[in-house]
């Protein structure tokens, strides 16, 4: 059985206690997108400012549990300054890390070490969130900010397309 130390790694608790990039950004130029976790009622607000195809600034506000807050905090640290293609790639890798593969769930419900789906080295601190997979109900907490980020990127793309035409 997975222990709590798999979930609450020290890095996660650190981001929870002192979250990075909390706050708001003026809109425009930033876009503002809200994300909800219907399970626990958590809400986060993401402000994303993209200029010349890269993330100039990003901020998070709202409330949530330690997992959603630290995941959001690590996410902002990971994407700041990156270009959009890189950010999209990171989202894909993160989501695949957060996918439970049925083969990894033992029939008796035991939660096994998930196979390494992505190279944790390329992930830096985010790899600490890998343990969340062993607590399936908490996966939604970890992915909340990432899904909100996808929404923000999509919104920016739609805007760009509309202003091009």
């Amino acid at each position: 059985m997975a222990g709590l130390e798999d979930l609450y790694r020290e890095i996660i608790l650190d981001h929870y206690r002192s979250p990075r990039n909390r706050g708001e950004l003026p809109t425009p130029p930033a876009v503002r997108v809200e994300g909800f976790n219907p399970l626990c009622g958590d809400e986060i607000v993401l402000y994303l400012d993209v200029e010349n195809g890269s993330v100039r600034d990003v901020k998070i506000s709202g409330q949530g549990c330690s997992i959603s807050q630290s995941s959001a905090s690590m996410m902002t640290a990971a994407i700041k300054g990156k270009d959009i293609a890189e950010v999209r790639g990171l989202i894909r890798s993160f989501k695949s890390m957060m996918t439970i593969h049925e083969a990894q769930l033992e029939p008796d419900g035991a939660r096994d070490e998930p196979a390494a789906l992505v190279d944790p080295d390329s992930f830096g601190e985010l790899a600490a969130l890998q343990g969340v997979v062993k607590f399936p109900v908490r996966i939604k907490c970890a992915t909340l900010s990432w899904n909100t980020l996808v929404q923000a990127l999509d919104e920016l793309e739609t805007k760009a397309m509309n202003s091009d035409s």
Binding site: L39, Q63, C65, S66, I67, R138
Partner: protein
Amino acid sequence: MATVASPAFDVETIKSDFPLLDRVQAGRKIVFLDSAASSQRPRSVLNAMDDYYQTTHANVHRGVYAIAEEATRRYEEARLLAGRLINAPDPAREIIFTKNVTEAYNLVAYSWGRKNLHDGDVIVLTETEHHANLVPWLMLQEERKITIRYIAMDDDYRLDLSDIEAVVDGAKLVSVTAASNVLGTITDLEPITRAAHRAGALVMADGAQLVPHRRVDVQALDVDLLGYTGHKLMGPTGIGVLWARAEILEEMPPFLGGGEMISDVRLDGFSTTDIPWKFEAGTPPIAEAVGLGAAITYLESIGIDNIAAHEQSLTNYAIRSLQERFDEIEIFGPGADAERRGGVISFRFGDIHPHDVAQVLDEHAVCVRAGHHCAKPLMRRLGVNATTRASLYLYNDEHDIDALVAGLEGVRKMFS
């Protein structure tokens, strides 16, 4: 450490009636403090359902052979038990089995609501309702221009009845929780029914959190409709109960259509059968009714007043223990020794998120609920997204509360 209750009431013996409570998790016996979400069930309920399937199962109200008649008899006996539990005047006709109490309220909103509520009509709910007694009415409001007024919660976590006369004035229905699944508050129904009836409104009470824990007498309470749900009363999932006075049910059009609920069907129409079957289309939850009957029998063998007394003293013990030990705790509900207070204890634990609280408690084999408890408007009123909730039942004792306190020490350590 002995729990104060009547001598006939022995928690150790009661605990041993519940097989699930023997479960060991990470070397510890489970501490189950989530009965407000769903209770556990005693062996006698499991045996009754097993026995039913092994010896008696056949569809009800259909076959003429012996086991079909016996199945029908067991199903209808459960109806009588479900009605007598709440002192329904005419249990054989006034008790409708549904799949849960949510379906019961949908039935009322759909059937009674569509017949009786038209543009401009008013109903009254409270801001403390479970979504089950809220969303069906909001759905009706999407279809018709009905007005929904809400009785507010006051700062003592009770319904503010100071201007109840005005709130219910002109209403056709007042539908209120009889006991809150978040606050533990037990509603003082008397002023509500008095004002509502004077205004000509019917009163429906959501008994989901009251019937399993306190003596409920629909005649003494003077309510017109009341619902409760089997799985919170030591019965199985898949069965709920709607009680309403026969004259109300008789006037209501059917809810679901199909077999069982008709007296005649032609290709150009149908006529419905008598109550209660008019509202029980299709094959009903027979084994579940048998299980619910066994649960009621078990509950009565222990005695509802004994259960209430035990829960009351344990609730006081829990609130005191939590408040003495933790400065950072804020309990959303009436305090220790408050009157009309059930064993549901929702709280904020410093600024630690309920999910994190519940996760660490799980490591201590303590099962509590974290979330909005299907009462999002109430969460907004309390100014939180979610709470942690510990809820008590007859099989809990002071050791369980001590385990909760020890678990919370662990939570504090982890996140400080």
